[in-house]
Symmetry: C2
Subunit: 541 residues, 2 copies
């Protein structure tokens, strides 16, 4: 959920620009029921009048996914290159927001001047077209914000890495003061490989198959889609794209001219008529997403397609940590259908979109920054990257979320920790990660939920017995009896003999009933459930 | 949750032996709140009089973890080698079960004769001492059940792989009819590496550290514990084992004579007094388990120990798929403390306990079975292993859970699918995976829970307003209003005008209230919660 802020000006009155407004994805363990996770923009909201612009480096969800949710709070003009802008505009339109706030920028030497900032978009390679680094010039010096990038001299789609341009950037004026640099692959010790190295292995793989071939990759990896589609065509197969996100990506890439010569594809309706040895599907869901085409195909018939013995399913992708269970479940479901499942095969059928350690070294050496701030990656990646910088004599600092750093001196200086955190999109509303809503969901999931209803009459006497409902709890306890009845009996026995002062006091009564229910459950089933108590008091008329 | 059954005799009256009674571990996504997952033993219970014995191949939880829960249903005598038997006995004792039902067996040439079976334990290498393959002789021929195994000529602790013995097994009598064979590493194409290859790299790594060194691995990997402890001692460090499971393993291994010459260790109380450059901790929790020592240390002070800048934390382990998030969280928490986190480094500091594909090939060639049934591994592993067998002209079959196979012919023949499934240990009770308990927990976690209480008086008229409680739901909806009040108002409005026939009918009233609550929630917060309705009817006296 990338969201970076640069400021320049007198202390507390700095003019601000925001780089990217991304999301990350929830999981059952930490954020059940949540739809999207984004940065808490409270500090930006409080300083909204100081924001001059928002810049988007590229179109991945972790860089633009929060646009429709956070932009309404910030309302600044948004700058992006054509393809990225198009994707962001679609998000704004779907949310009924003004898409004309997004302005298309041509790459360097063109520049955007906002407040004290002059910003240039520099084409870099990544796993989506038109990824850009930003060269940000300020009166205090030049910042290069790499965004997600790799060095690729032949990226299949989009501009190759241009060392001459980077050499220029390093040598203009006083050179690069600060490099904020992608750290994702800092633990990968071999040089990164070009997207184009996949063309021949994928062609060979697909040409060798006899049944239906289905391949999945990230919908936004337009270069990979092209390589896969061309490999399918070269093997004499008709190609069909399954999945809304994937068709949208190809369409936007073609409309914005970043993709040319993509082979003709069939609609799903036409593709089902094609013999399976003449067909290749390229589908969404490489990360095991429940509703995407990959998961659907692993569960049986989908849009008329059904996988069978002798078919091949290729994951031209890497599983993002945390998604392993879902992906493995799908692989095994396909295996049970008799499908041959092929994964990236140690890199033969997939390459990363990020710079490996030797590539990072090359960029450090090319740009010779005075300061290096590692970004993109977990803490251990940032720390490792900072160590490399330090070993080269480059001043550095590991900046965790909320860290405000003064970059104007010879070395970075932490000046403040902004209170920051996460905001959840939950259904249609935004909630704070610490509001307790998700905590309660996790507790119910771990412990089950007991509901106790008690009616107290006009004279403060319990009317009838306690009523208990169980949700997410075993029906029967150790004693073999009905757990609900056992709890009810214990509560009713308590009510019969409870002192008036407890019955009259809501808090005391609630607490006593809760404690008994939890204790009985502990004895019967060995766990203490969440308890909600409703005491209804009849009023004298 | 390995549980295998072999039978011999007239159809439907076969005498049975059970191999292993294992568990698998729950996760928040599929089994929140559950403590352990084991096989549903209903079919075995229904045929309990036919069970002659239970055999345990080795002491890992996925092979003996269900002993205390399933043995009481089966009650057959249990056979295991000394170390495994000791671990199983501890489990029985902790559960108050008769531990003398577990009988210690010496390895081949000794044999256990039960019913029509003659069973020999053959030492193999694995990541726990005394792992065994079983040679099962029946009137219909010889079965070799490998259990978990690898080929290791120098396993540090325990018996090396003995090709001569396996050659004998293959050539006695009519040879091997059936090989049931570990498939876990069938996708690993290089020969497996010996545990002993880690000795020198681990020594070098630990000798090079300056601060405190902490290493984690599986508690049951006694060989690794020994290598780590010796490396620590060689570097002039005092060694301390943290974690009950780890100390228990070393103790049992020493008591049963499988472990000799383990370096002396300090108690935690004494170890805290040692300077951090002179100390090495070996700790539990390599898989990120929340309560284990690794997780505790990543959260701060634990038993007086606290990790700091300049310390080193070694994961001498591989993350089991599904545990990545927990392990990565811990690695980053340690990184934030300034700790250098070292992982297996591409195999330099960890080797697998399973046979790789070339090793499997060697075993096939050595044993020359007529039939090969792949076991241990996901479906895709079994399928791949079966393909290899088929390519060598060995008759084979992928047996999914519940498959009953006739092995007496020239080729395996599926004769029945036993209804099988999973049973959960939930707190102190066993529940069926399909009982709906866990499904309800997942629903509450994803959707939240709304509780509605309504009182209906003696004349079938609603008494007062509906009362609503929310659990795991946002406080405020899109309209900005209090969600609880909004739902209450809608329900009360409905109650005021609801026809008598609805108010009088429990089901209709429940359904109407539920539908309104879900609809209002959908409008306000964009999701439909779980709803529990309690209607209390006052009785005329």
């Amino acid at each position: 959920m990338n969201t970076y802020v640069y400021g320049y000006g007198p202390e507390g009155k700095e003019r601000l620009i925001v780089i990217d407004l991304g999301v990350t994805f929830p999981d059952m363990e930490g954020s059940p029921g949540v739809d999207l996770i984004m940065a808490d923009a409270a500090w930006l909201e409080a300083n909204v009048n100081r924001i001059d612009a928002i810049f988007l480096t590229h179109g991945h969800e972790d860089h633009i996914g929060a646009m429709a949710h956070l932009w309404p709070k910030l309302k600044a003009p948004v700058y992006a290159r054509r393809f990225t802008a198009h994707l962001a505009q679609l998000k704004m339109e779907e949310a009924g927001l003004p898409s004309d706030m997004i302005r298309i920028v041509e790459p360097r030497p063109k520049a955007v001047e906002v407040g004290p900032f002059r910003v240039q978009f520099v084409p870099v390679s990544h796993s989506i077209p038109e990824s850009s680094s930003l060269v940000i010039d300020t009166p205090a010096g030049r910042v290069v914000h790499t965004g997600d990038f790799k060095l690729d001299g032949n990226p299949v789609v989009g501009e190759p890495f241009d060392p001459l341009e980077w050499h220029e950037i390093a040598h203009e004026g006083t050179g690069v003061k600060v490099l904020c640099c992608d750290s994702t692959n800092v633990f990968s010790h071999t040089p990164g490989r070009s997207e184009s190295t996949l063309v021949s292995p994928l062609k060979d793989l697909i040409a060798a198959q006899k049944g239906m071939v289905v391949a999945t990759t990230f919908a936004s990896n337009v270069a990979r889609l092209k390589t896969l589609a061309e490999a399918g065509r070269a093997a004499g197969r008709s190609v069909c794209l399954l999945g809304r996100a994937m068709r949208k990506m190809v369409q936007v890439a073609e409309e914005t001219n970043v993709l040319k010569g993509f082979p003709g594809t069939l609609s799903p309706e036409d593709a089902v008529e094609v013999g399976r040895d003449k067909l290749m599907l390229i589908v969404t869901g490489s990360q095991g997403e429940r509703r995407a085409a990959t998961a659907q195909l692993s569960r049986g018939k989908y849009l008329g397609f059904e996988m069978k013995e002798g078919d091949t399913f290729l994951f031209s992708s890497k599983t993002i940590p945390g998604n392993e269970r879902s992906v493995i479940r799908i692989m095994n479901a396909l295996s049970e259908m008799g499908v041959d499942v092929v994964d990236d095969h140690g890199g033969l059928y997939h390459v990363s979109g990020h710079a490996n350690r030797p590539d990072l070294d090359a960029v450090h050496d090319l740009l010779r920054p005075q300061i290096l701030i590692p970004m993109h990656g977990e803490h251990r990646h940032l720390r490792e990257h900072a160590k490399i910088a330090a070993s080269k004599g480059i001043a550095t600092e590991v900046a965790t979320n909320g860290t405000m750093i003064d970059l104007t001196g010879a070395a970075p200086k932490v000046v403040e920790y902004i209170e920051t955190g996460r905001v959840y999109l939950d259904g249609s509303v935004l909630i704070g990660a610490l509001d307790g809503v998700v905590r309660d969901r996790i507790r119910m999931a771990l412990n089950g939920h007991v509901l106790i209803t008690v009616i107290v009459d006009e004279d403060d006497a319990p009317l009838g017995d306690a009523w208990v409902e169980l949700m997410g709890l075993p029906e029967r306890g150790k004693s073999g009896g009905d757990l609900m009845r056992i709890v009810e009996d214990e509560l009713s026995a308590f009510l019969e003999s409870a002192p008036d002062k407890v019955i009259r006091n809501d808090d005391k009564l609630d607490e006593a009933l809760r404690r008994i229910a939890r204790q009985v459950a502990m004895e019967e089933i060995g766990k203490k459930p969440e308890v909600t108590v409703v005491v209804s008091r009849l009023m004298a008329e």
